[in-house]
Symmetry: C2
Subunit: 354 residues, 2 copies
């Protein structure tokens, strides 16, 4: 009997539709014969907002929740577009989905692939994953402005951190480390952010006792940026909060093959809500519609989706096809579609559910 | 008539005393004949805490305030030392000094010197300065823990940002840009931290109208880390908040000659309180007392001190001597003292007050 996976597609703005089209092509090429991907497209983002005034309606959200998983391209209009001034597509759409769908694990792997030039002059074999908390910390939107626009303005941002929220993501990270090279690095700023820092550090210490086979260390976020540049090979699993994870994963993209290869999964491990897979990059409106975007980050996000669905063999095939494609690159420019075609054509349906 | 500069020395812990000794040596070598540096040493840091239980007393603080400027080496004991568990030397000493002495500009220049290997494979001429806010933002220590140590713990950190605090550091940054290459980049995370972000962005927009000759742009902090690795030559002056500045300047150190060359000034431009000059690096207790530390970051911090005192010619001489020393390096190891001696011996007293 075939398994049906209800997939919501949110192509979004800018280069989003172009890269999602290639990701779907790859997904279709590798999908096992006994798995049916039932796709529904949701037009969300700056374009939708400009057309209708809506960012994400309750009806949109309810409909999206009915799916098993989501592929998102990128959302956001041209920076500084005055018509978007009051919209904040990032908070109203992207972060809203992450929070409403309880995506408490934001999973962002970094690999330096052979054949991909890194801006670093020297580095060992680099293969680590950042487990970024996705539902609390400085991202909660808790803050305000007093006397806004006057010389007496005071603006606050409150980082909210709960034992519940920290523990679940820390446990996920320990599980991940156990399945990988057995090393976990907590990144925070415990010497300055003493309240949140103590919650993170004590949670890691406590959970560590249940994982005697995982080696744990700690780095302040500032020091972590140094090691990402000078010794990225030292990392296996990094666990960190929402804001530090945002910063570290862009930097991780930069030191590896660039943000065109950086994949991510916004995961609700409990399965209560659909998880969402998206490239780390944004909508890049300046090159939209020109077939200039590299769809690889979105295709690698499809591999994370396949992992999440328990289709590990298919995920491995996608990754292998991407690696082969990367190794074959000779620097001559290819269109978005050409890259997607090259990767998809190397794939055949994976075997039945594994 | 000779001018007297009352200088407080806080050598601190670990490698602090070694690097401060060399910095003082260089200062003495270059000091104009008509300027007398009157030095008083304050024993502060982990060692003092372990000996007396005090981190920074009111009497210490009052005494330090009587000086014209401060040179600080580094403070902090061996990480994880259980006897320091309740101390938090960083908050109780270093940040306390920055806040009490109203060091609202934390000035951190980055130069990639010829002859110093950068971990980056390629880069243009790199010469930028980060103007980091030093007295507010997420560093204020405003937060708390509820139900600490229980499964219901909630920990908060409040970032406090005021129009007063943001505007004064933004103005300083515009002035700096005007004297340099005329480019200012605001770094923040306005799409997520909308309250603080709006205060920073609107302040920069408003002040910009008074500096028509300064080109202004904006980067989200995550994107800024990418550009620091892929195109650091694009930066001239970066202005940012306390936490983002902490992160960006360690990264800036990493992409340039490493944290052994990164200098900083904690500046109170009003002159109400003494400014404090310190290397960006920490106390490195693992190599303390072994003459392994590079004193160059502290010596370059002395150049910032000389700038601050209006002794620009002496500052330039120190920088030139450092550059010459760096260019002469052939990779053979030198002791802390040997590096200090080499730089000091190239110097003669600067001419009278300039
Ligand atoms: C667009 C923005 C809200 C988002 C974030 O900060 O999480 C992005 O930078 C990311 O990393 O996915
Ligand atoms: C030691 C620590 C409190 C300090 C900071 O975060 O400001 C340090 O990292 C720095 O950059 O000077």
């Amino acid at each position: 009997m075939a398994r049906t996976v209800r997939l919501a597609l949110i192509p979004g703005d800018g280069i989003g539709p172009e890269v999602v089209a290639e990701a779907v092509k790859v997904l279709d090429a590798v999908a096992p014969d006994d798995v049916v991907f039932e796709k529904t497209t949701y037009e969300l983002g700056a374009a939708r907002y400009l057309a209708t005034g809506d960012v994400l309606t309750e009806a949109d959200l309810a409909a999206i929740k009915e799916h098993d998983a989501i592929i998102l391209g990128a959302v956001g209009g041209v920076p500084g577009d005055p018509r978007l001034k009051d919209a904040n597509i990032e908070r109203g759409l992207l972060l809203k989905l992450r929070f409403e769908l309880d995506h408490y694990v934001n999973l962002r792997p970094t690999v330096i692939y052979d054949g991909v030039p890194s801006p670093l002059a020297e580095h060992g074999p680099v293969d680590f994953v950042v487990v970024r908390e996705g539902t609390e910390g400085p991202y909660v939107g808790n803050g305000g402005s007093l006397r806004k626009g006057t010389p007496h303005e005071v603006a606050t941002e409150v980082s909210l951190n709960t034992a519940f929220g920290v523990e679940r993501v820390v446990r996920y990270a320990f599980d991940a480390a156990q399945k990988r090279r057995g090393k976990l690095t907590l990144v925070h700023k415990t010497n300055v952010l003493v309240f949140a820092g103590s919650l993170w550090q004590s949670t890691v210490n406590r959970v560590a006792s249940e994982y005697p086979d995982v080696a744990v260390d700690y780095l302040h976020v500032d020091a972590a940026t140094i090691f990402l540049v000078t010794d990225p090979a030292r990392f296996d699993v990094i666990v960190t909060d929402n804001l530090f994870g945002d910063i570290l994963t862009d930097l991780a993209g930069a030191i590896s093959g660039g943000i065109g290869l950086a994949a991510s999964g916004n995961i609700n491990p409990d399965g209560t809500f659909p998880s969402m897979f998206e490239p780390v990059h944004g909508s890049a409106p300046d090159i939209a519609g020109q077939q200039k975007a590299d769809p690889t980050a979105t295709i690698l996000s499809v591999a994370l989706l396949l992992d999440h669905l328990g289709l590990g063999e298919a995920a491995t095939r996608v990754r292998d096809a991407v690696v082969a494609d990367i190794e074959s690159r000779d620097g001559s420019p290819r269109t978005t579609t050409e890259i997607g075609d090259a990767i998809a054509s190397a794939l055949t349906p994976a075997t039945a559910l594994d």
